[in-house]
Amino acid sequence: MGSPVHRVSLGDTWSTQVHPDIESERYIQSFNVERLINILDGGAQNTALRRKVESIIHSDPEFSLKDNYFMTQNERYEAAVKRKCHLQTIAKRQGWSEGSPELYYSYRTLSGDLAFSIHTVFLKSLKSLGSEEQIAKWAPLCNDFQIIATYAQTELGHGTYLQGLETEATYDAATQEFVVHSPTMTATKWWPGDLGRSATHALVQAQLICSGARQGMHAFIVPIRSLQDHTPLPGVTVGDIGPKMGFHHIDHGFLRLDHVRIPRENMLSRFAQVLPDGTYLKVGSLQINYLSMVVMRVDLLLGEIIPMLQKACVIAIRYSVIRHQSSLRPSGPEVKILDYQTQQHKLLPQLATVYAFHFLASNLLKFFHSSYSAILNRDFSHLPELHALSAGIKAMVSDLCLQGTELCRRACGGHGYSKLSGLPSLVSRVTASCTYEGENTVLYLQTARFLVKNYLQAHGSLGSTSQIFLPKSIAYLTTPYQARCPAQKAADFLHAKLYTAAWAHVAARLIKDSAHHLQTLMQSGADWDEAWNQSTVLHLQAAKAHCYYISVKNFTETLDKLENEPAIQQVLKRLCDLYALHSILTNSGDFLHDGFLSGTQVDAVRTAYLNLLLLIRKDAILLTDAFDFTDHCLNSALGCYDGNVYERLFHWAQRSPTNTQGNPAYEKYIKPLLQSWRSKL
């Protein structure tokens, strides 16, 4: 056995030593892992703070996640409520306030296995859509958990398309109340987290009807459960929507409202309000309703979606240096499966992708913060770009994180199918992100709409480029680009400028094609909407290419800023190259299509790509260590820091209730089945 473990580990008897197969991977360090951890955390002080929170949480047995895999839905829910309540008590003692980094790190440390997560979403919506008086009234109640709130938008029959929602809020000027009502079965609110069993209040999105006119979607605070005994209030039917693929700890709920009356003050009124006499006043853009969704999407990236793929990479790559299979020479020893080219080809692009996404989401967050304060002050100029960027990036990140997480799971062979690997839970959780907070196809199309509209504006209907101002992220649409890629050999493809330009070329071409296709259809008589639907497959491809371009460009720009960290810059540069080249190869048809790349060049890309796999292979374990997840947080028998995979797997399996409890099926069914055999003996 190797050297002692110096990281937070699970304290099993065998985990005092690191497995030599993983220790040897850490022996030569081409870069300082701790520095990379600091960079990913956004500064050494954040790393220190995060680790402090982790040690508080891990030293408290109340927070243990180890029995999660053996629990029923009911038990998981109760455990999550218990943990959340316990965390709140500790937060109070430690002085961690709502929205503080400490609570953010607690959430990360506990893998979000906490109840009342939508409570925070409610608070954020309140702060972006509520007036100052409303915030002053409701925020303290939330912060002290005097109320538990959720956000209820989706309905049984209606999802991403906001205008289709059926729930109604009709203003009654006589009593100065709104009457909130679910007119049909399909209007039943469906899916909101914490709604099923926990929430006392819901922020309900409903069609506002006042003075006989429909004014579209608005948000209303509706009390749904008694603050005395937690029973549903009159007119309220509420419950849990039943078992799901993942999120077993959350009570996603349904809600039917039967003419429930709420005071006029319960409509959130930063951007629109109803006066006592029923007059409707509006002070915002049409898109303002999307603001809460933009807030949520941006938060989700770093808080929820990207860590899933990070963890999957940690587990699969660590396991791949412990697992041995076959040999590379006759009668030679079995080799680590990470030394197989096919295994590298599966895992290393995922590692590169998750680094790309980390930097992409961090920069989107910065852009968001700079635009957000302006929006709250009713300057909406950045909103369309912010909306388009956040929609497309959410769709791309969740799509590829799901694919990557599932790939990592399958790359662990049979053991990846065991819940004890931690991977099934990651997959079934990240997959939800492809449909929640905006179904991905719909989101890509929103981005495409922004791209196509701007393209048409910039190029005019006659195709002449007029000098209009395009938002920064799409400025490349008016930049003249090369018709052929100048690369001559494999090494040329390791230049950031070259592959960024290649993606710009493809994205611009696909956006152009999609805009032209739309125009052609309209010229042949179709109206805009019909033409739009008939070109959506093209729009989808254009939006995806645009997102690739943004992510590649962002990664290269991030690297430029790391010039004081040459060793880290070098290792991240390889990941950036791999990410870019892998994306070119998986979409090679788009690059070959107009002859931008020749067949020979595509072969050169492939050569460069395969060479990179070998280089990154050497640093693979260190690059996963840099995510700095504790073993408690990973909760994986395959992915622990010490590499003692098999002992842990055997030990954990024995704790399964199927082994610790009796087997009633034997007495009831198996024994009678075997009876005839005994009589013959």
Binding site: T160, L328, Y417, V537, D594, V602, T658, W677
Partner: protein, 661 residues
Amino acid sequence: MNQDLRREREAASFNPELLTHVLDGSPENTRRRREIENLILNDPDFQHEDLNFLTRSQRYEVAVRKSANMVKKMRDFGIADPEEIMWFKKVHLVNFVEPVGLNYSMFIPTLLNQGTTAQQEKWLLSSKGLQIIGTYAQTEMGHGTHLRGLETTATYDPETQEFILNSPTVTSIKWWPGGLGKTSNHAIVLAQLITKGKCYGLHAFIVPIREIGTHKPLPGITVGDIGPKFGYDEMDNGYLKMDNYRIPRENMLMKYAQVKPDGTYVKPVSNKLTYGTMVFVRSFLVGEAARSLSKACTIAIRYSAVRHQSEIKPGEPEPQILDFQTQQYKLFPLLATAYAFQFVGAYMKETYHRINEDIGHGDLSELPELHALTAGLKAFTSWTTNAAIEACRMACGGHGYSHCSGLPNIYVTFTPTCTFEGENTVMMLQTARFLMKSYDQVHSGKLVCGMVSYLNDLPTQRIQPQQVAVWPTVVDIDSPDSLTEAYKLRAARLVEIAAKNLQNEVIRRESKEVAWNLTSVDLVRASEAHCHYVVVKLFSEKLLKIQDKSIHTVLRNLCLLYCLYGISQKAGDFLQGSIMTESQITQVNQRIKELLTAVRPDAVALVDAFDFKDVTLGSVLGRYDGNVYEHLFEWAKKSPLNKAEVHESYYKHLKPLQSKL
């Protein structure tokens, strides 16, 4: 019935019943299958409870009860034909997951393939009647697909004429076998045979593991369940550790290799025959991929006809989501794939039976190709299906994530197919090995036959992988035959590139194995292209056998869609190989959109033709009558969290918290 679905069915251009006959193989097969299904549906003993609301232990118990009940019923009904047994299980078990399943799928076939007549006499009858319950224990905790790496040992002791079985390390513990954890009392164990101090490699042994009468593990045996998994909740996948555990000499399966009483080892005549079971299981899995994907398509397409959302034109009512081009683009290529795999599955079954007869007559000539083809097609169809089921699930939006949709269950039940019975990448590389061998054979002047015969043309075509080659054909994108040719050229080109790259590496590297490893990404690509060609070829050949004109038209559209969609996804390969031009790729993309429109009116009828009973689908979204929302609400009310109006955690945790803060 839901109005939307009624309209869809009335508007279909063909009679789905006729297509069902095609899928079943004949009207007679359809009739008999339904007869069997009705036996179950009309049987008062048959209760279908919703497993989604049960704990894992409860689900295991239900599955054991059903298994026991099923054995009895099949005997009562006189169902013995393997095909009919499968139909029976399809409805009875819904997911085919049964703790005693391995007894039939692995224990008995292995006994038949590898046991002597005497051994078959001793074990077969009692295992067929489930008087003993067997399983098949091959995989170990540290070793999977690579058989030679297994560590379990069986050492012969001539003194007592016994084998001594041992699990020498943690990694050698048998891990994963179905039914091993709690149910079985016997296992066929694969172990390294050691006799007279020498190791002779892997052999199969029948090992009693639990005591008859008490079901307790026998002394020297440690056995249990490996814990919760992604799916297969009903299955007790198990572990098995053996410590100096003795079994009689007669328990080694000795049809081929033998150990004499004095410990002398007698070699088998041919080792190819042990492939038999694997080939059978893998060809069965191809059909399983088709069935799982067909189920997923049925659910997603019916739901997409019922669900309305958003608007195409402002002011008009919300359209069915199936009218959105993006939804059609998500689902119809998958529907076409489901049909393609149905036909491939049927072909694999026929071929297996045919070659099995040859083997019976001592003719092993086709076995290597069949082995290579089943390995590759198992990987190809399961990878595709895996992604396709997920795509169907996500096409149902949020509701697809709920267990009420049935889709998560189909997914988690299907996805292990990618790793079990041979991990897919390893399978692809086995196919590649065969392709490389055939390639070498052609280059040494010998012709090859079967599905790889296209390699015979390579030397005359002088394909230069990186230059524009002159292809013998011009692709007609409206002809399945011509498209099959295009796929053939792609396969030939990628096989050639892989072969050349391999040769280059062999020159540069220290060993063939290292060279193989450094070419393996190319090799997998070549195998995929080969399998893709085989699927396209089988689909277009199937069209020739369709008599009915309306059925032919609709299947031809699906076949074209399958071919063209594949080209569009792999456009790089077709462009780089100069198999198609840029303008042809543009035409392909345009034609795909036309085909989506052509398939649209028949989409619901096309999934109806799969003829799944609602019970088998296990989906609220995929109900035949389309009454989705009402049943969704009823289903949710049954959730365990809804048992009490106020959940107990309110009193335990929430109330105390509110008073504390």
